[in-house]
């Protein structure tokens, strides 16, 4: 028990570093989940863009165009500097900027229909493409009513009315992936956080226990080496499971509605299996260095590598094919693949088998890394 006690005293000494990672995790989660109500969409609602409109004409027709866009999008009115527009577009604060120059109505009435308004958008962006299409469509309606012999006031009114005639659209049941997007993000980021928490905390304790002077003191104590290893392993297990439980409790607080479901249970099992790999990895890393700074570097590099290449930060579907082929050599790839299987739809028996295979592969990775750690340890003893 003395060893276990010393283990946790050492953990306490390094607790600040552990809390920094936990803080980052909470900040990321809160940031990414604040705009999501977690409810699946029941009816279709068109995407709303953020559009900046600068109306310099102030006429019935320019107001009509403004009203049309305002009825569909989030519109910000008023003049903005060129610098401001560029920054807002780059940071996606706005998706589109429209300028209605003076003389717009006069030009339209005189039959001119080329370059009547000016827009700025991100080159070739999908949002820009859509806004272009809508504005073009509305001005076509307006111009058609004018050509049809209506006054500007009537054309403006009728165009707005006509633009409200919309196609029938049915909403099929949303895919499970969309339903659970925030809790899926939570389990995705868990990969990086588990690696950071366990490797930082447990790694530092293991390195401390292996320090030469402490090791010599242990050797001359009546406690056999096997007992020391056993208690260290028990301490490591307790600490790792405690980190995992802490994250799960965070999940309960953040997603109380999604926690008590079969899907969440499968997510939890998946993360618990991944924890085995993280523990093995920590053991291996602790054998590679005795320097806390280098441990920190290795923790960051392994955590970021497994996260970026496994599809934690960016969905696997957006990743390059060649990179994905390499990613199969990483357990995080199989962790995310298992997550995707659970979240894509209700599991069929075939998919369930596939899910179990993903868990099995992660266990094999854990075993392989553990074996690697044993080899390194043996080699160091010989040295």
């Amino acid at each position: 028990m003395h060893i276990l006690k010393t283990f946790f005293i050492t953990i306490k000494y390094h607790i600040a570093g552990i809390f920094i990672y936990l803080g980052i995790f909470i900040a990321l989660l809160v940031f990414f989940t604040q705009n999501d109500n977690g409810q699946p969409p029941k009816a279709f609602t068109a995407t709303q863009l953020d559009i900046l409109i600068q109306d310099e004409d102030h006429t019935v027709l320019s107001q009509s165009l403004y009203d049309f866009l305002e009825s569909r999008h989030r519109v910000e009115k008023g003049a903005s500097s060129r610098e401001d527009v560029i920054d807002k577009l780059y940071w996606h604060t706005i998706d589109y900027s429209l300028r209605i120059p003076k003389g717009f109505q006069a030009d339209l009435l005189s039959g001119r229909n080329k370059d009547l308004v000016e827009n700025t958008k991100l080159p070739e962006s999908a949002t820009g493409y859509w806004a272009d299409a809508q504005i073009e469509q509305y001005l076509t309606l307006l111009n058609s009513y004018l050509a049809g012999g209506y006054s500007p006031e009537d054309a403006a009114r009728l165009s707005l009315e006509t633009s409200e005639k919309e196609a029938r659209i049915n909403m099929a049941s949303a895919s499970a992936a969309e339903n659970n997007s925030t809790i899926v993000s939570f389990y995705h980021y868990l990969v990086y956080i588990l690696i950071s928490l366990v490797t930082t905390g447990l790694g530092q304790v293991l390195i401390t226990f292996r320090q030469r002077e402490l090791d010599i003191r242990f050797r001359c104590s009546p406690c056999p080496a096997s007992r020391r290893s056993l208690f260290l392993a028990l301490g490591g297990l307790l600490f790792s499971v405690a980190c995992w439980l802490l994250c799960m409790m965070l999940g309960v607080v953040l997603f109380p509605k999604s926690v008590f479901t079969i899907t969440n249970l499968l997510y939890m099992i998946n993360s618990l299996v991944f924890l085995l790999f993280v523990m093995s990895l920590t053991l291996l890393i602790s054998f590679l260095t005795e320097n806390f700074n280098i441990l920190q570097a290795l923790t960051n590099i392994s955590g970021l590598t497994l996260s970026f290449l496994g599809g934690v930060f960016v969905p696997q579907e957006f990743m390059n094919e060649t990179i994905l082929r390499f990613s199969r050599l990483l357990p995080s790839y199989w962790y995310i693949k298992a997550m995707d299987l659970i979240s894509s739809s209700a599991l069929t028996s075939h998919q369930y088998q596939e899910y179990l295979s993903c868990l099995g592969i992660q266990v094999l990775f854990a075993a392989a890394v553990l074996a690697g750690a044993m080899v390194v340890s043996k080699y160091q003893k010989i040295q």
């Binding site: 600040a16 920094i20 980052i24 990321l28 279709f44 068109a46 995407t47 527009v85 560029i86 780059y90 996606h92 604060t93 229909n113 080329k114 370059d115 009547l116 827009n119 700025t120 080159p123 070739e124 962006s125 999908a126 949002t127 859509w130 272009d132 809508q134 504005i135 073009e136 469509q137 001005l139 076509t140 309606l141 111009n143 058609s144 009513y145 050509a147 049809g148 012999g149 006509t162 633009s163 005639k165 919309e166 196609a167 029938r168 659209i169 049915n170 049941s173 949303a174 895919s175 700074n293 570097a297 590099i301 970021l304 590598t305 970026f308 290449l309 960016v314 990743m319 390059n320 990179i323």
Partner: protein, 383 residues
């Protein structure tokens, strides 16, 4: 003597494993991970418009006019739609598996089925609504102004081009994922703080035995300080140059074509990085581990606000507390790189570089005052 000290300080820095890992190797790994993790989004720009995959289900007699429109919109170099004509059951399967963004039922009155509220579904919805709205315009004009029907129809069919695009940016690379690379270069500049702190420790006799030995050498103090600080900036700047070369030449990320200004901003970055390290190193009454912790925390916090973890963080800060951006060296640096790539003029680049130089002077001055105070305090104690 200046060059002699400089040479040995450089050798000493290049022998530090800690510095080699954090300053030279870690950024290259992180840059590669960004590149591999973002996959095709960093190359193709994730916001670019891509053809929308749809399933078209013909019913009854079909709809020849709509058929013709869909046909014309699914041809050419960058077609609007990627059409799969199929039976309803298969279309439903494709939708469920997210292989298509929507199902378009052609007749008798066209309608859509989608399974989520995204941009592509909105574009699809807008397209079909346009078809219905044009029919409405024709009906209305045929009823009220049949004499103008021909003119109205010709307006509806004309490809007018009412909306003119005005480009405001210098480069076509408006992909804001590039922000991660700007922030990475900024981070490495600020990592110069580790070298700066190490340099201070080797210069200040009260902080290390090495410095105590150096202090009794028959060399002018200013010469020694100048040589050591030059070496620190040189090593940090070298790592920044390697990183810029790697990002632009190996990863082929477009950082713009103003290389000289980019390198000048990076040099200002190395100066501020080293000066921050000197400032933290000179903080009184703290262990060197604690100082390192503070320095790392400060650096990472600045980088977080500068967009290293969440790329649009600078825009969020700009909206809520713009003053923080003006004093955050990581933001000032990444904004320098952004401005060079996007803006035509360099006024903002100049403002940022001047702010960085002012901050460098302030940090150095603060460090000088702290060290002076400590030295005076020590000598008074000695007396």
């Amino acid at each position: 003597m200046f060059f002699h000290i400089l040479k040995y300080r450089l050798i000493q820095l290049f022998h530090s494993r800690n510095i080699l890992i954090w300053i030279f190797i870690f950024p290259l790994i992180l840059g590669s991970l960004f590149y591999m993790g973002f996959g095709n989004m960093i190359i193709d720009n994730g916001n670019d418009f891509q053809s929308i995959p749809i399933a078209v289900v013909g019913q009854g007699q079909g709809n020849p006019i709509l058929d013709e429109v869909i046909q014309s919109l699914s041809q050419g170099d960058s077609p609007m739609f990627d059409v799969t004509r199929t039976k309803e059951a298969n279309a439903q399967k494709l939708l469920q598996k997210d292989k298509v963004d929507g199902i378009l039922y052609e007749a008798p009155e066209p309608y859509l089925t989608v399974n989520r509220n995204d941009l592509n579904q909105s574009i699809l919805y807008s397209f079909l609504s346009q078809y219905i709205q044009q029919a409405e315009v024709i009906t209305r004009i045929a009823e009220n102004h049949p004499e103008n029907l021909e003119a109205a129809v010709s307006q509806l069919r004309s490809d007018a081009g009412y909306n003119k695009e005005v480009s405001m940016t210098r480069s076509k690379n408006t992909n804001n994922l590039t922000q991660y690379f700007y922030a990475l270069i900024a981070m490495i500049c600020l990592y110069g703080g580790q070298i700066g702190m190490d340099t201070l420790i080797t210069l200040h006799p009260q902080l290390s035995s090495h410095a105590a030995r150096k202090s009794i050498a028959p060399v002018h103090k200013l010469k020694m300080i100048a040589a050591d600080l030059t070496a620190s900036v040189m090593v940090n700047y070298l790592s920044v140059l390697i990183l810029i070369f790697y990002i632009t030449q190996i990863l082929k990320i477009n950082l713009g074509d103003r290389l000289v200004l980019l390198l000048l901003a990076s040099l200002a970055g190395s100066l501020i990085g080293v000066s921050i390290g000197i400032f933290f190193g000179s903080l009184p009454h703290l262990e060197s581990n604690t100082k390192e912790g503070f320095l790392m925390g400060f650096t990472m916090f600045c980088c977080f606000l500068g967009g290293l973890i969440v790329q649009n963080m600078p825009s969020i800060v700009e909206e809520h507390a713009p003053v923080i951006n003006q004093i955050n060296p990581a933001y000032l640096l990444s904004d320098c790189f952004y401005v060079l790539n996007i803006y035509q003029d360099t006024a903002r680049w100049c403002r940022n570089v001047i702010s960085l130089l002012i901050l460098t002077v302030l940090f150095s001055l603060a460090a000088y005052l702290l060290i002076r105070q400590k030295t005076q305090g020590s000598s008074q104690k000695g007396e």
